[in-house]
Symmetry: C2
């Protein structure tokens, strides 16, 4: 298996990512197509270790308009990665770049799985017990059918990649009763109930830190806000804990017996450990790594890309949604493209 890795378009310099890539190549037994500025990729490539250089020109920035970037920056690290996927030179692609551009490029050039109406970002949220949130920001406005498909894709991902048996799929809502929520939420509830999933109904956000579900279905607007709030509260918590111990000499001493617990906690809360976010519904495996990726994050995103590819999830999506082109609906999952 060859995994293409864009080491240029994150917030950090390629040098901060490269160790993660080298470790991943060694640990996971995959070939790496290292995409980036010529000097960098040639310096770090090592064919004996399965790391091949793919020089690119320029980057898609975080500010670039998604559609303009696809057209105008075809030779950028991101554009090059998408092209390697299209030509079959790579089996999976990992990029820490502009989410909108990556999703648009992937959806347009690699296409969506037939029958899946909207690709979505599936983000694994760490906390006490990880869950996958679908959608975490790609689809600002959604139809009930989209939410139902998100539930299905998230469930399969949780089962095959996170190793959860019969994943509990829940709908993010402002109340647990089925009568709560926006019209789209209520309609999605009905569809999810008959979609053949282990659907447990609506969940309230206050339960999210306590392992209330394995798959959290939501629109991209709400999901993005929930995700960033978890991130912000996590940072707030980390600052707070540091503040407690930094106050004076005694509290600094008090840190010593607690430090192992604190480190374990921080690791558990660390989004970097969860890797990146699969672009669910895209016809080939693309993983969006965190924009602020470092070597740990890119290492885990490569692991994830490998598992996602090997698990054959995309062909399962094809079986589920592609098959039903004739009748338009299957188990409550509408599949018109």
């Amino acid at each position: 298996m060859r995994i293409a890795v864009d080491i240029m378009s994150g917030d950090n310099s390629p040098e901060k990512l490269i160790n993660g890539v080298l470790r991943a190549a060694a640990d996971f037994g995959v070939e790496i197509a290292l995409i980036g500025d010529k000097a960098v990729v040639e310096q770090y490539s090592d064919e004996a270790k399965g790391i091949y250089p793919f020089p690119s020109e320029g980057v898609v920035t975080m500010e670039d308009d998604a559609l303009a970037a696809i057209k105008e920056k075809e030779n950028s690290s991101m554009g090059h990665g998408i092209n390697l996927m299209k030509s079959g030179e790579a089996d999976a692609f990992v990029s820490p770049g502009n989410t909108g551009a990556l999703l648009s490029a992937a959806s347009i050039k690699l296409r969506r799985v037939k029958g899946i109406r909207r690709a979505a970002i599936g983000t694994v949220v760490p906390l006490d017990k990880p869950f996958i949130m679908v959608d975490a920001g790609a689809n600002i406005d959604v139809l009930p059918e989209n939410l139902c498909q998100f539930g299905y894709m998230g469930s399969l991902y949780a089962e095959k990649v996170l190793g959860v048996d019969k994943p509990r799929v829940a709908l993010l809502c402002n109340g647990t009763e089925r009568t709560k929520g926006l019209p789209v939420t209520k309609a999605a509830y009905e569809l999810l109930e008959t979609a053949g999933l282990n659907f447990i109904g609506n969940v309230e956000s206050r339960e999210l830190p306590f392992g209330c579900c394995d798959v959290l279905v939501c629109d991209g607007f709400t999901g993005n806000i929930a995700l960033k709030l978890i991130e912000g509260m996590g940072k707030f918590m980390s600052n707070t804990i540091n503040g407690i111990f930094r106050r004076n000499l005694l509290t600094k001493l008090a840190y010593l017996p607690c430090r192992r617990n604190i480190k374990a906690l921080k690791k558990r809360m660390d989004a970097r450990e969860a890797g990146g976010a699969p672009l669910l519904g895209v016809a080939k495996p693309v993983i969006k790594a965190h924009g602020n990726s470092d070597d740990v994050c890119i290492y885990n995103a490569i692991r994830q890309a490998k598992v996602y590819t090997e698990a054959g999830i995309i062909s399962e999506f094809e079986k589920k949604f592609g098959r039903s082109d004739t009748d338009g609906t299957q188990n409550g999952v509408s599949s018109a493209d």
Copy 2:
């Protein structure tokens, strides 16, 4: 000033609330109309201390349908409180009961301020620097005009009750750029910009714990999810900190020098300290206390009711929105009723 207090319809027994009411009467120099079951209110009333009994029959439960409750439970503690407001026997009303029922009863029987199209729940979120979220759950679907009015009401509340000079009003969004968000968010951005407020644009939820704004404008669906997530993450954080120190004898000893900091933090995070949520836009002062209110919470909610009433905020709303009936729009704030 006489403040009506419903001590029956929260999750806790009236006995758990009563101390807060007694302390509030003593500390704030207000009269209390104590509403609840006859035996209880008669036991705790004390005319010398300005606490008068108002026996009621039954309660609106958390499960009751809002509109049915208003019709069928007029003599309940909540219904009685609303009636005391209507008849002018009380100047403000505090209730920990069913939010939907309280809001509906207040909107229908006490009416909204003329020109305000939707009443909203304004919840003060503690964290590092408190901010008021409007709407925290009353209006699931909103128009841009509603959001703009929420911004105005929240701003005045932050200024007069929270004591913030030129409150920074922000719109909760999935990105800071004005082009981000739902169609309703984008349209509200335009209105808020010209509403004569200190509007600072969109904020992302990850900044909320760090004092990024004084007034957070959002629809009730998103607001409710954000609010409950902050609550859940706060609880998660508190559990986590306890877990760090409870591990073994050494960590238990380590707690000692840290305990003052930890207690200060918990107090700062404690929603009870912030009091309750004003029903902004209702023509008379009504404060929704937390359903799980205890004596601290009800004490603070009474303080808040007093300040809200004294500050004359509602008559400011009337001046702002009532006046513009003729032209329909004023500073971007549409005011048709």
